[in-house]
């Protein structure tokens, strides 16, 4: 998968998601979705070339061609938008870092579930 592949390359180079998003001029929230395979990778050559450069993939090399192919293939393999309860449960916390250092209210917990269903 394109997402797993680029993530491994990025981490291999010791670049955080925040740093990488800055380098390629991409929204980090969207980029993390691309790496997780829940959002389609970019398809235009200019953006893909910029990403490949940031990952130190040599232009027109065998690896570069593989990278482009993975991006094209992954574009047609994005799962549907419905997030299962099982996926949401895996993401839910036991402890919360809140501004007021307290457990969230029941209403806030409901909102948190909604956000995770919406954003995952």
């Amino acid at each position: 998968m394109f997402g797993a592949y680029v993530k491994e390359k990025r981490l291999g180079r010791g670049i955080t998601l925040r740093e990488f998003s800055k380098i390629i001029n991409y929204d980090p929230s969207n980029w993390s979705k691309i790496e997780r395979g829940t959002l389609s990778p970019p398809q235009d050559d200019e953006k893909l070339t910029r990403i490949a450069e940031a990952l130190n993939i040599e232009y027109r090399s065998h690896e570069w061609q593989q990278f482009i192919d993975e991006a094209k293939i992954s574009a047609g393999m994005i799962p549907d938008d419905i997030v299962s309860d099982e996926q949401v449960v895996k993401s839910l916390p036991l402890f919360f870092r809140t501004v007021r250092s307290d457990k969230p209210t029941e209403e806030e917990l409901d909102t948190l579930i909604k956000i995770l269903k919406r954003e995952r």
């Binding site: 929230s29 993390s32 402890f95 250092s101 969230p104 917990l109 956000i115």
Partner: protein, 209 residues
């Protein structure tokens, strides 16, 4: 497990500090300050950081460790804003505290649905919740503020105070010195003044014994 059985294993504070020192030495061997916890999480521990919108504004939460222990979810808006860099750093270190100290609890907890999870969280006894948070905070503070370096920085701050002709304060108003020291040294560690004041107090670094 019932929420009423959900209890925090009590341990000595010095054990938490020792664990923080060990993990820092292992994960951040250069010792460079401030510590880039985001880099440790992603590049060393290979945990995910997922940025989501609306977490803080809508649910009053700015970060948390996912229950499957594969990574952290953080609020996009505050975590993108450099103004929150110190809080972000402490939040990450705090969540790392949960990751290292409370991993067994996470592994034990299994929920079938978000509703089941919600009711469980609502029913966790407050005193236990506070104990878990206290332990994670102690881990985070010690992880980000290595004691030997803090001691050196305190000495430097005191020298400045003496150089400014304020030696009297050291003798007569020792309790007002901590905020001064915190203001002088907090930037080096990339944490808030409150975190430094708490380290000074918790570790008994001022007033000198």
């Amino acid at each position: 497990m019932e929420p009423s059985d959900f209890s925090c294993r009590r341990c000595r504070i010095t054990d938490i500090w020792e664990l923080a020192d060990q993990k820092r030495a292992l994960l951040w061997p250069t010792g460079e300050l401030p510590i880039d916890v985001e880099k440790i999480i992603e590049c060393q521990l290979r945990l995910d950081i997922d940025w989501v919108h609306g977490l803080l504004q809508e649910a009053d939460v700015d970060a948390f460790l996912k229950s499957d222990l594969t990574g952290f979810i953080v609020d996009y808006d505050s975590y993108m804003n450099d103004k929150f860099e110190n809080r972000r750093r402490f939040s990450y270190a705090h969540e790392l505290g949960h990751y290292f100290l409370h991993e067994d609890i996470y592994r034990e907890m299994k929920f079938e649905s978000p509703e089941e999870w919600k009711h469980f969280v609502m029913d966790i006894p407050d005193r236990e919740y506070v104990a878990f948070e206290f332990q994670a905070n102690e881990f985070a503070g010690r992880f980000l503020v290595p004691k030997p370096i803090l001691e050196i920085e305190i000495d430097k701050a005191i020298d400045v105070l003496i150089g400014e002709g304020l030696s009297d304060i050291l003798i007569k108003n020792a309790d007002v010195v901590s905020p001064y020291i915190a203001a002088y040294v907090h930037k080096k560690f990339g944490v808030s003044k409150d975190v430094i004041e708490r380290r000074i107090e918790r570790e008994g670094l001022w007033p000198r014994k």
